[in-house]
């Protein structure tokens, strides 16, 4: 190979590389969102993003991570808007000035699931009572243990039940993984776990309607899973696209979109209850 | 006569060890110069300096270049040449490609070079590097240098570990290069006979120093003092070499071949028990091209010696037992 040809080869490669970089930079009509894995798994955003693009001409791109990391991405100005479900952490976040315009838009709920034969007999109890019984009987409980919204909810319930030192208890295991992985561990080991309903519906479906784990505790107000959107603070992050974020928050809170959220189903079951449908 | 090289006050060291120490040496153009010496005498180092691949630690190696690219005028064939992992053709053409020759010219010259070293171009050009014998590989490596038609060709031990046929072809190719293009050839070897055959002049290196321009015999220590001024060295085969006036235990003696007298064993019984005397077997006769002298190579005490043949040559045909005798006052001592 002659020197000229080698040089041409290098130049071609470099131009492809930088061509791609500039293409990324030129993508301007993009709203970047950080959300939680469980939200992404419901498919709601896949359903909403094309609608938003049509209505506002803005492309919604989202990164699905744990709640803790989603908030961290917002702190570092790497995203423009957050869709999360950890109210107390969110309030602290806004109070510290990282986010603005926090708007609660919808909720779904958590359920406590466990083996069909329910060895600890918690069926129909309130969530706090159920946890107390599990601890008392030393029945196996599987926790996410990943600081996610679900994990935070679980910890707040334990706290309410007056059980704080369970971290090292041998009947309490932490997977540090996603919801489905955690449900699978619970199923394999015959334990109890707390899950969001959306993931459970999918799990139930994948088991062809005959899952080893069933819903035992549900319907309590404490189990509500409140979702809100937060814009990343424009004063802290001048680079963030605050205008787009504001438009998104207005759009998703509008009655028309809210009704759509209420009608959204997976596998024939409704998942979310909108807060501003009227 | 024009010079190709002049060396001035050259000292070359690897670490703390001085391997080459040449105060003054000139090499003339269009000559075939031999470098002879034991292993570790600095032959390869000298050739690398002459190839301008290394610079002496101190002193200067002047090369009187013809063009602006002196590097392209000199070609070195290292002691163990390495073939590139490609075809024989590409191995030979590599240097020409670097020098920017055209394709047709390269092809013609590669084919010529292969035939000079006695390899059939049609059969060998496409061979892979691993499908060659040791002698063939050596000849391909030589062809890769000859093809450059260098002004100076440096060959480091080209005949080590090759068969007799290859040795002959290499000799022919060297002579051809000198005769056709006036190439200055500098060739090192420990095969004295082969060198006498090929070279116009010979540089004798010993421990990094030039000890003569011929083929001096070297007698190493260790010496043991017997009585008074008389010293003894015992050769590997048990022969005792008595010598007066040795300057020290590790002294090294140099004896010019013309000062080394040789007698058939049968007639030389009177020399038995004399000092500076050793028995050996003639292994070969050769003519020094430069002087026309006939030199016999004699293996005595397990080491090679050279002695000038005077008188009747038939007495000293290879295989004959002879006695070598040196005069103590003709021995030059180095320490």
């Amino acid at each position: 190979m002659s020197n000229k040809r080698i040089l041409a080869f290098f130049v071609a490669i470099l131009s492809i590389f930088f061509g791609n970089v500039s293409a990324t930079l030129s993508g301007n009509n993009i709203l970047r969102m950080a959300t939680t894995t469980s939200t992404d798994n419901t498919g709601l955003l896949d359903f909403l993003a094309p609608e938003f693009k049509e209505d506002a001409g803005i492309e919604l791109q989202w990164v699905a991570v744990g709640t803790g990391k989603a908030l961290e991405l917002g702190k570092n100005c790497d995203v423009d808007v957050l869709l999360v479900h950890a109210p107390s952490a969110e309030k602290k976040y806004v109070a510290k000035g990282y986010g603005v315009d926090r708007t609660e838009i919808m909720y779904n709920d958590f359920v406590i699931i466990g083996p069909k034969d329910d060895p600890a007999r918690i069926k129909g109890k309130s969530p706090v009572e159920a946890l107390k019984i599990i601890a008392e009987k030393k029945a196996l409980f599987v926790s996410r243990g990943d600081n996610s919204g679900t994990h935070k909810k679980e910890l707040s319930l334990w706290k309410e039940a007056g059980l704080t030192n369970i971290d090292k208890a041998e009947w309490y295991i932490q997977t540090g993984q996603g919801m489905i992985a955690t449900i699978n561990v619970a199923a394999e080991r015959g334990g109890y776990t707390l899950t969001d309903r959306g993931t459970y519906i999918k799990y139930e479906y994948s088991m062809k309607g005959n899952p080893p784990l069933v819903v035992l505790v549900e319907g309590d107000k404490r189990l509500y899973n409140l979702y809100s959107v937060i814009a990343v603070s424009p004063t802290r992050c001048p680079e963030a696209r605050y205008e787009f974020a504001k438009r998104f928050i207005r759009w998703i809170s509008s009655p028309r979109v809210q009704r759509k959220i209420g009608d959204y189903e997976i596998l024939g079951k409704r998942l979310f209850v909108p807060l501003k449908a009227r | 006569m024009d010079l190709a090289y002049r060396l001035e006050g050259v000292r070359h060291c690897y670490g703390n060890k001085t391997v080459l120490c040449i105060d003054e040496q000139a090499i003339e153009l269009n000559r075939i110069v031999g470098i002879v010496g034991h292993n570790g005498s600095g032959k390869s180092t000298l050739l690398r300096l002459l190839a301008l691949l290394e610079h002496p630690t101190r002193g200067k190696v002047h090369y009187f270049a013809e063009s602006k690219e002196p590097m392209f005028e000199i070609a070195l064939l290292p002691q163990e040449p390495y073939l590139l992992r490609r075809s024989v053709f590409s191995n030979v053409s590599y240097g020409l490609e670097i020098r920017g020759c055209g394709k047709n010219e390269i092809r013609q010259r590669v084919y010529d070079a292969l035939s000079w070293v006695g390899l059939d171009p049609e059969g060998f050009a496409c061979r892979r590097w691993y499908a060659l014998s040791g002698g063939e590989a050596q000849r391909v490596a030589l062809a890769a240098r000859l093809v450059l038609r260098p002004r100076v060709l440096l060959l480091d031990e080209p005949t080590t570990s090759v068969d007799a046929e290859s040795g002959r072809k290499i000799r022919e190719a060297i002579l051809k290069a000198r005769n056709e293009w006036g190439t200055t050839v500098i060739v090192s070897s420990h095969d004295r006979q082969w060198l006498f055959d090929v070279c116009d002049t010979i540089i004798h290196l010993f421990r990094g120093r030039v000890v003569g321009s011929g083929v001096e015999n070297i007698v190493f220590g260790p010496w043991r003092k017997l009585e008074g001024d008389l010293w003894i060295k015992i050769f590997p085969d048990g022969q005792k070499f008595l010598c007066p006036g040795v300057p020290g235990c590790n002294a090294v003696g140099l004896i010019d071949p013309s000062d080394m007298h040789m007698f058939p064993e049968a007639t030389g019984s009177k020399y038995k028990r004399r000092a500076c005397c050793i028995h050996g077997t003639v292994s070969g006769l050769s003519m020094v091209r430069s002087t026309g002298d006939i030199i016999a190579t004699v293996y005595a005490g397990g080491e090679p010696f050279s002695a000038k043949v005077s008188g009747c040559v038939e007495q000293f045909t290879p295989g004959r037992r002879v006695i070598l005798l040196a005069y103590p006052d003709k021995i030059r001592w180095m320490s």
């Binding site: 990324t24 791109q61 990164v63 100005c77 680079e239 | 070609a75 070195l76 163990e80 240097g95 450059l148």
Partner: protein, 229 residues
């Protein structure tokens, strides 16, 4: 076993039915690994050559450092690249986070020590007579470099294949700095992680099979290249 058969079936379906999401992930994977391989080969081969060929002060320390970097966890690389590319980070103004370029940068950092270390080893294990031979034929500078590398071509191919295997299969960097954004930065590996997280084990295995197919095709083409020279 059920999952594996199911995965095989789905893999065929995904490819045959021209599933757009799968092909987007394949495209992202191929694009990003091509960038990172080009960059790491362009940087790593000369650097590895220098490391293996020249003697200099601190060479052994440097070599040890490079070899240690072979154990760089992808998640840590992801975190470091994130720290630099975040809008709050020193390179935030480039706006590269959550793009294929960001993944390519991280993967280059992943592949670079592999290429450097294996190139250095390849150059070191070349015959020591090679250098003298090339110099004696008049080779200098880049000619010397290219011929030396060409002599080590088989070992370099192995280095490239090893690095490609690592780059193709990593998930930590793609997830962290790519963000697994659908249609944009979702690579096959992050898609596998996502589908597994969603409980679609069959789909996860299917995507894994697709990934292995890509690896197979790349290795086959490299092998044919090797035979030719």
């Amino acid at each position: 076993m059920n999952y594996i058969l199911e995965g095989l079936r789905q893999a065929v379906m995904l490819l045959v039915k021209w599933d757009p999401e799968t092909y987007a992930a394949i495209r992202a994977t191929l694009t990003v690994t091509s960038y990172s391989m080009c960059a790491s080969l362009l940087l790593g081969i000369p650097a590895g050559f220098a490391l293996g060929y020249f003697d200099f002060r601190g060479k052994r320390v440097l070599r040890t450092m490079v070899d240690t970097c072979l154990a760089f966890p992808t998640v840590l690389i992801g975190l470091l690249v994130y720290a630099f590319l975040s809008r709050r980070g020193p390179l935030g103004s480039l706006n590269l986070l959550f793009s294929l370029s960001a993944i390519a940068i991280g993967q280059t950092i992943l592949a670079l020590p592999i290429i450097m270390s294996l190139t250095a080893t390849a150059v070191e294990s070349l015959d020591r007579r090679l250098r003298l031979t090339l110099l004696s034929l008049g080779a200098r500078g880049h000619k010397l470099l290219f011929t030396t590398l060409w002599e080590a071509r088989h070992a370099l191919l192995i280095a490239a294949i090893t690095a490609y295997g690592r780059v193709l299969t990593e998930v930590g960097i793609s997830m962290m700095v790519g963000g697994n954004i659908k249609w944009h930065t979702r690579t096959i590996t992050t898609a596998i992680a996502l589908e597994t997280g969603k409980g679609n084990f069959g789909l996860g295995i299917a995507l894994g099979i697709v990934l292995m197919l890509i690896a197979l095709i790349v290795n086959l083409s490299v092998m044919s290249l090797r035979k030719k020279s």
